[in-house]
């Protein structure tokens, strides 16, 4: 993209095309011959990684849209149907949902790199501003995408974020109405968000083209921050940068796939596995982790309008960075003071992210205000002043000099690791609220935990028995069908067994030729029966609290693991909060509440239930369900078995996921290794 190319294809067909549309020349000059500074480090591979992630999101997104239904009544179940029924649907969905997080991890690293090495300075101001625009578009896209599964967090996130606009004087309410297409967040909102969520990635792709164009005009910045002067300072993009980018990308994919295959729900919120309910707000609303710093800024300002203004300014201030920091030296490598302030700033952002996930009370509010002040101070006070008073160290004469005088910096990579861990630390979103007033459920050992975990078929069959004979009296399981009992990686019933179980129930069908509804015996395509005809009936029969559907229970509940435990959880692949909680709950009933606890009428005391007063009575007792395989018939065993069964119901593709994950990880390690050695071989003659 840097002017007419001298590239001349030899093949006559290509020649013919090239004379009419110089596309090969364009590609050649932009991605082959394009001179790239020879001292770029791995932080520069994140541009390529981001392009890759945009591609992943668009491809998986287009596919998910083929199976998704944008309707308030159907969206939640259609997402679950993708995960449960579509071939590799679970993979595509987890790639897309975790892909969004990876996209933001990569973009934050990319931005911080720009910040550190002064990539926004003359002549790259427009390049930088285009980047800020891409970031804003990404935030809008990510937000609208999060609304689409139509879970509790989707719904309430949409409500809270759209209400931000109501802070605008005079027009606020009208703008919000326009966003909603109704009197509240509802079906019209979901439909327009779906449409825009599909559109915006292509807008992003368009701005990315401009971003890359501007990059190729100004040339890449580099860690030394001095412009290339002679051909000794640069190497051609291909093969040098290409192979380095490829290796960086392979490592990033390994990181990405760790989440996709082993901890796919780690970055998500359990509440989003509860279908949207306009009548009940979850006790603690948090946005996705990538918005948390800005959410913290919003909350730390006690005035509505000022809070919203502060939040948006926190992003927009980035666009003015080229003029706020007027230092002639680009790279902070040579600006000792600015460098320290930069790392403090990184800490401030992580801190804000941490606070964004905490409830807005007490010391958190004060800390939030201090960090918000620090955030703005960095851009509006520290950088402008530093750039005037700081005496930078001497920069190298040329990039070639920089390469020769370079010492391998381990510090940078160590900091990178800390940064990534810190980003994980922002994710208190996935820590649930059971512990707000309860005690922490003990961790059980589960056969399905860990990278090679598998369900214990006998346990699933026993759990199904407990569900059928006890839980099913009050709880539905609308997402599970009799056919699922025969699926690989499940309880492993034969088709005949599942057919016999299905035939035990009566299903309403019709109308027949005479126009009448009729009852017929169940088939394996039927879902498990609901004990109540509708939610109101369920509520009326259960003292006002409808027993929740159990299909996703094992993913819709969790509890706080606390810092730093939840960071280790990412490494140990801990994904068993739900079953732990279910087991604890079923064994946590106490006949007499502790001294001083006032138990409301019609409730039971439960040690692990948030607030302890539970509408559900203690329904399990020893020897209540008969086990044929000699397993002890104790409440504890029942609770374990049914918790395992519910885990399978919530995550039926767990075994397939872990099995494929292992193969993919091995493959990626091999590929990354090969790329590493290829990269070394390619670069050997550049040094």
């Amino acid at each position: 993209m840097s002017g007419p190319s001298t590239f001349q294809p030899k093949n006559p067909v290509l020649k013919w095309i090239e004379r009419r549309l110089p596309i090969f020349g364009l590609v050649h000059s932009s991605f082959v011959a394009y001179p790239t500074p020879r001292n770029l480090n791995y932080w520069w591979t994140f541009g390529g990684i981001l392009s890759f992630m945009l591609g992943v999101q668009i491809v998986t997104g287009v596919i998910l849209a083929m199976h998704y239904t944008p309707h308030a009544d159907l969206a939640f179940n259609s997402v679950e149907a993708i995960v449960r029924d579509v071939d590799y649907g679970w993979l595509l969905r987890y790639l897309h949902s975790n892909g969004a997080s990876m996209f933001f991890i990569a973009v934050y690293i990319h931005m911080l790199r720009g910040l550190y090495y002064g990539s926004y300075k003359e002549p790259r101001e427009i390049l930088w501003i285009l980047g800020v625009i891409i970031y804003l578009l990404m935030m809008a896209t990510g937000f609208m995408g999060y609304v689409l599964p139509w879970g509790q967090m989707s719904f309430w996130g949409a409500t809270v974020i759209t209400n931000l606009f109501s802070a605008i004087p005079y027009f606020g309410e009208s703008i919000v109405t326009l966003l909603w297409g109704g009197y509240s967040v509802g079906n019209p909102t979901l439909n327009r968000f779906f449409s825009l969520h599909y559109l915006l990635p292509f807008v992003i792709a368009g701005v990315v083209v401009l971003h890359v164009w501007a990059l190729h005009v100004a040339g890449q910045n580099n860690p030394a921050g001095v412009e290339p002067k002679t051909s000794k300072d640069t190497v051609p993009f291909t093969p040098y940068a290409t192979i380095k980018d490829a290796f960086g990308l392979a490592c990033f994919i390994l990181f990405f796939f760790w989440f996709v295959f082993y901890i796919p729900n780690y970055l998500g919120d359990p509440d989003n596995y509860i279908p949207a309910n306009p009548g009940v707000t979850p006790p603690h609303i948090v946005p996705e982790w990538y918005y948390l710093p800005f959410y913290a800024i919003l909350r730390s300002i006690p005035d509505k309008l000022a809070g919203v203004v502060a939040m948006f300014s926190a992003i927009l201030v980035l666009a003015f960075l080229p003029w706020l920091d007027s230092s002639k030296t680009r790279s902070m490598r040579y600006r000792p003071l600015a460098k320290q302030c930069f790392w403090i700033f990184v800490g401030v952002c992580l801190g804000l992210g941490y606070l964004g996930a905490k409830p807005p009370e007490g010391v958190y509010v004060i800390a939030g205000r201090i960090l918000t002040a620090c955030y703005f101070a960095y851009f509006l006070i520290v950088l402008p002043i530093l750039s005037r008073i700081e005496k930078p160290r001497a920069v190298p004469n040329s990039i070639a000099d920089d390469v020769l005088g370079k010492k391998k910096s381990v510090v940078a990579s160590a900091l990178a690791v800390i940064g990534v861990v810190g980003l994980l630390a922002l994710d208190s979103g996935s820590t649930a609220r059971a512990s707000d007033h309860g005690s922490t459920p003990p961790s059980m050992s589960w056969s399905f935990a860990g990278p090679f975990g598998k369900f214990d078929q006998g346990q699933l069959q026993r759990g199904y028995k407990v569900y059928k004979e006890v839980c099913a009296a009050c709880h539905s399981m609308n997402l599970v069908h009799y056919r699922n009992l025969t699926d690989p990686g499940g309880p492993g019933l034969s088709v005949a067994q599942a057919e016999a179980l299905a035939a035990e129930i009566q299903v309403k069908d019709g109308p027949n030729d005479a126009g009448d509804m009729f009852e017929r015996p169940g088939r394996i395509a039927d879902k498990f029966p609901s004990p109540f005809p509708n939610e109101n009936a369920a509520r009326a029969a259960n003292g006002g609290a409808a027993p929740p559907d159990l299909s996703l229970m094992a993913k819709a509940r969790g509890y706080e693991r606390g810092f730093p435990q939840f960071i280790f959880d990412a490494f140990t692949q801990f994904q068993e909060k739900g079953p732990n909680y279910i087991h604890a709950l079923l064994t946590g009933f106490e006949d007499t509440p502790p001294e001083g606890f006032k138990l409301p009428d019609g409730s039971t005391y439960n040690r692990y239930f948030p607030g302890h007063a539970m509408k559900m009575p203690n329904v399990l007792s020893d020897d209540q369900v008969t086990y044929d395989d000699g397993t002890p018939q104790s409440v504890d065993q029942y609770a374990k078995d049914v918790a395992a069964f519910l885990m399978w119901a919530a995550e039926p593709k767990l075994e397939e996921r872990k099995r494929l994950g292992f193969q993919v990880m091995i493959f990626m390690v091999i590929l990354a290794g090969l790329l590493y050695f290829t990269k070394r071989a390619v670069w050997a003659d550049a040094h």
């Binding site: 199976h67 071939d87 590799y88 649907g89 395509a525 090969l674 790329l675 050695f677």
Partner: protein
Amino acid sequence: MTTSSSAGQSRRDFLFVATGAVAAVGAAAAAWPLVAQLNPDASTIAAGAPIEVDLSPIAEGQDIKVFWRGKPIFISHRTKKQIEEARNVNVASLPDPQPDSARVKEGHDQWLVVIGICTHLGCVPIAHEGAYDGFFCPCHGSVYDTSGRIRQGPAPSNLPVPPYAFISDSKIKIG
């Protein structure tokens, strides 16, 4: 000197080819789920289970249309005359030669069960129309006889017979 550098050269070449090949395998493997997801999903497959149809309400000379896997299935209760017509043809002269006996179940000659989708381009033919007292496709004029065999027009083959079986004299199971 030259030998060692050429050995190094070929080792490098091998490395490049191996890396490229592994990357290509990875890209191809990644394409697999993207295509496989286009298959009918598990709920669609489960909904395509066999269906039972009660034949007793269908009088002689009448026919009904039922749906199985989203396809219309024609079930005709053929008259004596229609059966005769289907039998009295020179099978060898047909575009898609098939005797009537191969298209109905033995002992149930009066019942013709075919998938009502024209083998030309998929329109649904109209029963009891056309020159052969069978089916006529309005789209491009294909004519089928009382056995659902193609007799005239652009369709290349006979109306297919779905898998089905009689579970009693008046009940069939399709699928």
